[in-house]
């Protein structure tokens, strides 16, 4: 028996080596749900949503190693590995959900201190949450997850892809945006600030001295980290315009304004446009008053870059497109609505250099829709994350699932 030990050991080691060699390629990149994706291929046959938000026919998108290499005419010969998309489909950048609590684990906000720039939403998010897979299936390839904005400075949000592998986020940005808030939700009785005056004073002080205390503040003040500013009222917006003047870049405005006077809405839009502001609006539901929804179109025409939020995870998978559809009905143009879900959303999250548009050099986070995504009946056909197809509609409606459904009906 003892004489056989060396043979046994060699046998086990050999098996382990072989297994390791086989397993190594599996760890290189996320697996495709269906057939293996080539590293260089061309998507043809669909209308393409370009950075201006318009739909274009006759284009082909070449993907090379997870990035968009170039956009060509579909009639160009010699395109690498053409992948024919269904007739009538639309190829769109993956949507970006903003100001969400996807994967939030327990409490992701700090109550003790009104100013906490170092708290990070990433530490309170669970990548194994089912939210992300559902978001991906709904055509959202990235999400900005933020700490609940109930403090003057609530901490850092992060931006990550919704395609999560091995329970780890594929983060696009972890250092921010930094979240500022002003409005009734930051006023509390158990700690400062208890009044608006004190809130403004604390915020002013933090902007003046924050760089001495917090690395994240220093990064923000140096322009390396973007910021979000949550405003609940017109006066909050006015305060933001004042606070963030004098060299400080205007943060992205997260606005939930109920302004009935059109002239007032237009005036605010002009002032924000003059500061080259980006505004995150929504989510809009069918119960949202029209004057709230009209702001989207009015500010877009004034020159403000408008992005839309969907209100996840409390909302339905179509809520993001529903917000866009309602905004279109109240005056936002179709192209602006598509920009609001893609390129402007990427700007708002500080990741426009990576995602948000179909452009050369950007990551190939793409979605194939059955039709214009602004039509609520359009459905996701395919989702590409870093150039790899991770969602295929045939897989969502698997023959097994359909058979199971029919079996349920027959048996009941």
């Amino acid at each position: 028996m003892l004489q056989r030990w060396p043979q046994v050991v060699r046998y086990v080691v050999s098996c382990a080596c072989i297994g390791g060699l086989l397993a190594a390629p599996l760890d290189a990149q996320p697996r495709d749900a269906s057939a293996a994706s080539p590293s260089v291929f061309t998507l043809v046959g669909a209308r393409v949503v370009k950075a201006d938000g318009e739909l274009y026919d006759g284009l082909a998108v070449v993907v090379d190693n997870g990035r968009i290499q170039r956009i060509e005419l579909a009639s160009t010969t010699g395109l690498p590995t053409p992948v024919e998309l269904p007739a009538g489909s639309v190829l769109c950048p993956g949507f970006i959900e903003l100001c969400s609590n996807l994967g939030a684990k327990n409490q992701n906000f700090e109550l003790a201190s009104p100013i906490d720039a170092e708290a990070s939403a990433l530490d309170a998010s669970d990548p194994s949450s089912a939210h992300f897979a559902k978001a991906l299936a709904a055509g959202v390839t990235a999400a900005l997850v933020w700490p609940a904005p109930i403090n003057l400075v609530s901490g850092r949000a992060f931006v990550a892809r919704t395609h999560v592998t091995r329970d780890e986020f594929d983060c696009l940005r972890v250092d921010g945006p930094l979240v500022f808030s002003l409005g009734n939700q930051v006023l509390r009785m158990d700690r400062e600030p208890t009044s608006r005056g004190r809130a403004l004073a604390l915020l002013t002080e933090s902007l003046r001295t924050g760089g001495q205390q917090s690395p994240t503040f220093r990064d923000y003040l140096a322009g390396r980290v973007p910021a979000l500013f949550v405003a609940g009222d017109v006066v909050d917006v006015e305060s933001a315009l004042t606070l963030f003047g004098g060299g400080l870049s205007m943060p992205v405005l997260v606005a939930d304004l109920d302004v009935r006077a059109t002239t007032e809405r237009l005036r605010l839009g002009r002032e924000l446009a003059a500061r080259k502001a980006v505004a995150i609006l929504g989510p809009f539901t069918f119960a949202t008053p029209e004057n709230k929804v009209r702001i989207a179109g009015e500010w877009d025409r004034a020159g403000v870059r408008v992005a839309l939020a969907g209100g996840w995870p409390a909302a339905t998978p179509t809520s993001l497109r529903q917000s866009a559809s309602l905004a279109v009905r109240e005056g936002l143009s179709l192209a602006a609505a598509r920009r609001a879900l893609t390129v402007h959303a990427a700007v708002a999250g500080g990741v426009s250099h990576r995602i948000g548009a179909i452009g050369s050099g950007l990551d190939a986070d793409l979605v194939v829709w059955s039709g214009d995504p602004l039509r609520l009946e359009s459905e996701v056909l395919e989702v590409y994350s870093r150039g790899i197809r991770v969602v295929h509609r045939a897989a969502l409606r698997t023959p097994q699932r359909a058979a199971t459904a029919k079996k349920d009906i027959d048996e009941l």
Binding site: G297, W312, L376, L412
Partner: protein, 522 residues
């Protein structure tokens, strides 16, 4: 030739126009107007009438309740109805013409599940006699205009959210007030259906108690029906007996008269005038005690009572008196409005619209329909796909509630939503509809929800679902379609209403323009 016709100036010396000149001017104007119309299209015999013509638009209809179709043409409305539609429409001389180039004309949408402009939040106590129309604020301009801006001209309103029999739903049309163009709610049907709410997330014991209470009410209604039937039988018999007595009295009275003619000295008794009085007084007294419209009117034929006590008359009256004492008018059952409503449901005069979400509640509703012969419509029906075969076997229509669940699956009800429920139901043979749901401004959601249901396999095109198919479900044929003779309830859209950028430009209800988009073009 008369000088007046050729006078260089049209006026006489006293500055009064010549009569003949005025006649000539009127004739010339008429010929001019007629000729302009003649050059545009063939001569119409109705050239003197007015109306409204939407010209050269794309007409969007769904006559087969399943598929939408489009055709280029014009729509002529007059006197509140569609007078002519199609590619060859004669325009009356004085018709108001609206250019429809590039526009779409569609029937006004019908929201078959709405709480539009409902002022009451609903009572927790179920009342069979509650009416949705009583909670409807007909003058809530914001809500009504919001609905019109979404192309909705007709809504079904559900009564309050109380559990059990919650009351009577109403069908309301957003029509013009009188001859003005201000839209208010006009009730088309005050008792469109009986609403039964079986709830969604109660505990099991509460659900058992609720179903037991519902059965008890229905059994009580059946008992009430038996009482009414019995009363009717007894009343009929009583009237027959009265008639018989009257006939006997008349026979006895005639015999009395013959005797008089044959030579008796007794005066002819004034049978009718005198004898009527006591019986009439008795009947009047009875009416005062029980002035009920359901009560049968007193019999006009009294029991005869001869006043003079003559032998034959007395002999005839005595047995009549005794028989009258024995004859007793049956007592009518007390009037119960709540049971009367249940009887209408049991008689299938009105459907029972049952809100049930869980599969067990849906099965309970189906069992009620079987047991009591109800005409059932299921609404909400979150888990209907799990019991689709049972629903299909009874041909019960389903009005779906939530179509998708939120990402956060904490809601006990919404987590049960299947996003392919329309396809599963259709595969089993169940007809599916959607309304806008329970939010007050959710008329805006109507077409979007119909489009989502279509995309998820309902088998009914979105325009059809909110027009002709909805009208068929509600049992009204005067709305929901564009055809000659139908009510002129239609909407002019800036483009195809199924496209995201299309907006409502004009709404006509009953031929009157109740909404015009006033915002400047974007």
């Amino acid at each position: 030739m008369p000088d007046v016709l050729f006078t260089p100036y049209p006026f006489r010396g006293d500055c009064q126009p010549a009569r003949s000149t005025l006649l000539l001017l009127a004739l010339g104007a008429t010929l001019f107007l007629t000729s302009t119309k003649l050059t545009a299209q063939p001569f119409s015999t109705s050239w003197l009438s007015g109306g409204v013509l939407i010209r050269d638009a794309t007409i969007l209809t769904a006559p087969d309740q399943q598929h939408a179709q489009t055709e280029l043409g014009s729509v002529l409305i007059d006197d509140g109805k569609i007078k002519s539609i199609g590619s060859a429409v004669n325009a009356p001389v004085f018709a108001r013409v609206i250019d429809g180039k590039g526009k779409f004309v569609a029937p006004g949408f019908i929201d078959i599940d709405s709480t539009l402009a409902m002022t009451t939040t609903g009572s927790s106590v179920a009342q069979l006699t509650a009416r949705a129309e009583d909670g409807f604020d007909r003058f809530d301009r914001d809500a009504l205009v919001g609905a019109l801006k979404s192309g909705v001209t007709c809504v079904y309103l559900r009564p309050g959210p109380a559990l059990g029999f919650a009351g009577l739903g109403a069908l309301v049309r957003l029509a013009a007030e009188g001859s003005t163009s201000v839209a208010i709610g006009q009730v088309l049907q005050t008792e469109a259906d009986l609403f039964l709410n079986l709830g969604a997330t109660q505990r099991p014991i509460a659900r058992v108690q609720l179903i037991a209470a519902v059965r008890k009410q229905l059994d009580e209604a059946r008992d009430y029906r038996r009482q009414l039937d019995l009363y009717q039988e007894e009343l009929t018999e009583y009237e027959q007996q009265l008639a018989k007595r009257a006939a006997e009295a008349k026979t006895a009275g005639d015999a009395n008269v013959e005797k008089k003619v044959a030579g008796t000295d007794a005066p002819i008794a004034p049978l009718v005038a005198t004898d009527l009085r006591p019986a009439q007084d008795a009947a009047s007294a009875q009416d005062l005690q029980n002035p009920n419209p359901m009560q049968a009117p007193p019999s006009p034929v009294p029991s005869p009572t001869p006043p003079d006590g003559s032998g034959a008359g007395a002999a005839a009256a005595a047995p009549a008196k005794d028989a009258k004492a024995e004859l007793k008018k049956p007592t009518q059952p007390p009037r119960r409005e709540d049971l009367r409503i249940l009887l209408r449901a049991l008689d299938r005069e009105i459907p029972v619209r049952c809100e049930a979400h869980r599969s067990s509640d849906i099965l309970n509703a189906l069992e009620l329909a079987d047991r009591y012969g109800l005409r059932l419509i299921l609404t909400g029906a979150t888990e209907a796909h799990l019991v689709a075969k049972e629903i299909a076997a009874r041909e019960v229509p389903v009005v779906l509630g939530p179509l998708e669940a939120p990402l956060d699956m904490t809601d006990e009800l919404l987590r049960r939503v299947a996003d392919n429920a329309p396809a599963l139901l259709r595969a089993a043979g169940v007809a599916v509809w959607v309304g806008s749901g329970a939010e007050p401004f959710s008329s805006r959601a109507l077409l979007g929800r119909a489009a989502m249901a279509e995309a998820r396999g309902s088998g009914v095109e979105s325009i059809a679902m909110v027009t002709s198919a909805a009208a068929a479900l509600l049992g009204v044929d005067s709305v929901g379609d564009l055809r000659v003779g139908a009510r002129a309830d239609f909407v002019v859209w800036s483009g195809d209403p199924r496209e995201p950028g299309a907006v409502v430009e004009r709404v006509f209800v009953g031929g009157i323009e109740v909404y015009v988009r006033t915002e400047t073009a974007f």
